[in-house]
């Protein structure tokens, strides 16, 4: 049960030639591993997460997903806006091949949407959308959760509830967290890497990764 990235290259076309975001990135995530990837703004963290989740393809290189990988958590882009929350739940249940009746009450309770659960998603506030997205990603059991930046869902109480569900109730799973916030990574990860100029370097400990990340930040300052 691993995720394996081999020689992953991703370039974006710009008007002034290609911009290489990921430059031959290799990465292995083991079952149960909590890996944090530090990188400053624009270093390609989100691109990496999207490639791992399968939203995007690399220009070259390989990705092997030998475990069930989530979509980026608390990310609210995976909904069809004219469908209701419930219809979106049904859609997602269908594509993940799970019985929507089984997760419906959990999502309904967890997301705290009340009657809006049966209203089109386009009428939701960003907080409601994030709650629904978070509830759905908890309802479907994944082996590896992808987290893009600090999760900020709802108020302090709701946030606490999410953190508990994720990091306590699912501590046997793998987590891949990308963030520019070193404190968040230090709080939740056992391993860490730094993404800089398209290159990913892993460090033996979170502290070493942190030091190197600080050097990167200072060099640019």
């Amino acid at each position: 049960m691993t995720i394996h990235l081999k020689n992953v290259v991703r370039r974006y076309e710009t008007r002034r030639g290609n911009h290489t975001v990921l430059d031959h990135v290799d990465l292995t995530v083991q079952r149960g591993e909590k890996l944090g990837i530090l990188g400053k703004n624009g270093s390609g963290k989100s691109t990496l997460i999207r490639i791992i989740s399968g939203q995007e393809y690399p220009d070259s290189g390989q990705i092997e997903r030998r475990m069930k990988v989530s979509w980026p958590l608390a990310f609210s882009g995976g909904f069809q806006s004219s469908l209701t929350g419930l219809d979106n739940l049904r859609f997602i249940s269908r594509i993940y091949d799970i019985d929507h009746d089984a997760i419906r009450s959990f999502v309904e309770d967890f997301a705290e949407l009340g009657k809006f659960f049966r209203e089109p998603v386009k009428t939701y506030s960003s907080g409601m959308l994030a709650r629904l997205a978070f509830a759905l990603s908890l309802a479907i059991e994944f082996d590896c959760y992808l987290i893009d930046e600090i999760i900020s869902v709802g108020d302090a109480r709701f946030h606490e509830k999410c953190m508990h569900e994720l990091f306590e109730n699912r501590k046997d799973r793998s987590f891949l967290i990308v963030s520019h916030d070193a404190a968040f990574i230090r709080a939740h990860c056992t391993h860490a890497a730094v993404l800089e100029a398209g290159k990913l370097s892993r460090y033996p400990s979170v502290d070493e990764a942190y030091e190197n990340y600080m050097n990167v930040l200072n060099c640019n300052a």
Binding site: E56, W71, S81, L83, I92, I95
Partner: protein, 264 residues
Amino acid sequence: MSNEDWSSFKKSLSLQFRVIGALLMREVITRYGRHNLGFLWLLMEPIMFTVGVIILWSTFHTTAGFHIEVVPFIVTGYSSLLLWRICSFRGIKSIEANRSLMHHRQVKVQDIFYARMLLDVAGVTASFLFLIVVMMGMGLMHIPADPLLLITGWFFMSWFSACLGIILGCLSEHSDLVERIWHPANYFMLPISGVFFMVDWLSTSLQKLVMWVPMVHPIEMMRGGYWGTAVPTHFQLGYISLICLLMTLTALLLMADRRMKMLV
């Protein structure tokens, strides 16, 4: 194929069917909704048009040299027009309307197009059948002389339209120009597509030209299927098959372009 290959192939196939099924449900809900008469409109539009044209033609063409019945002529022609018009316009908006769902790794560009085209072809086919039944009930149409030929014509028209929808849909993701050009192009196709004429009515030199237009062939087939040998028709099964195959290949290649998913 080894056992392992076979089981992974079956797995992928069942996933794809599941995703297409889920997308179909999603399209049905947003399009026909729970609160409005969306589905009814799909049937009403061709009916309204057909009735309107019948009134016009019976007013202006009372005795003037028409030796075929207007109703089946309009029904076959307009339903064909509806097929490629709906498929092409739906194709152009496919990715746009489902962009957010592509954030799920399971949802591929192909699935989105297949679901849309299936639904649109099924919808227009339903309205076509409905029109035929209604017109037969009113005594304005009879049972087709050669149903198999009529069905074959409809099959080619559907195949052509679905490919057209996918091709335009893919191209429109690369450039907005596609949509802008397709609107007028669609109108220019009307007079040459065989919706409003039979090939046999034209001069030999015009016939030669018009036989290059793919839509002419299925429409002629459908009319041949309706009237049988009573009305002379012109079509080449080989030509329309070749066109459809080439379009299928083009559509498959365009959808396989990995950039399609990256444009998310």
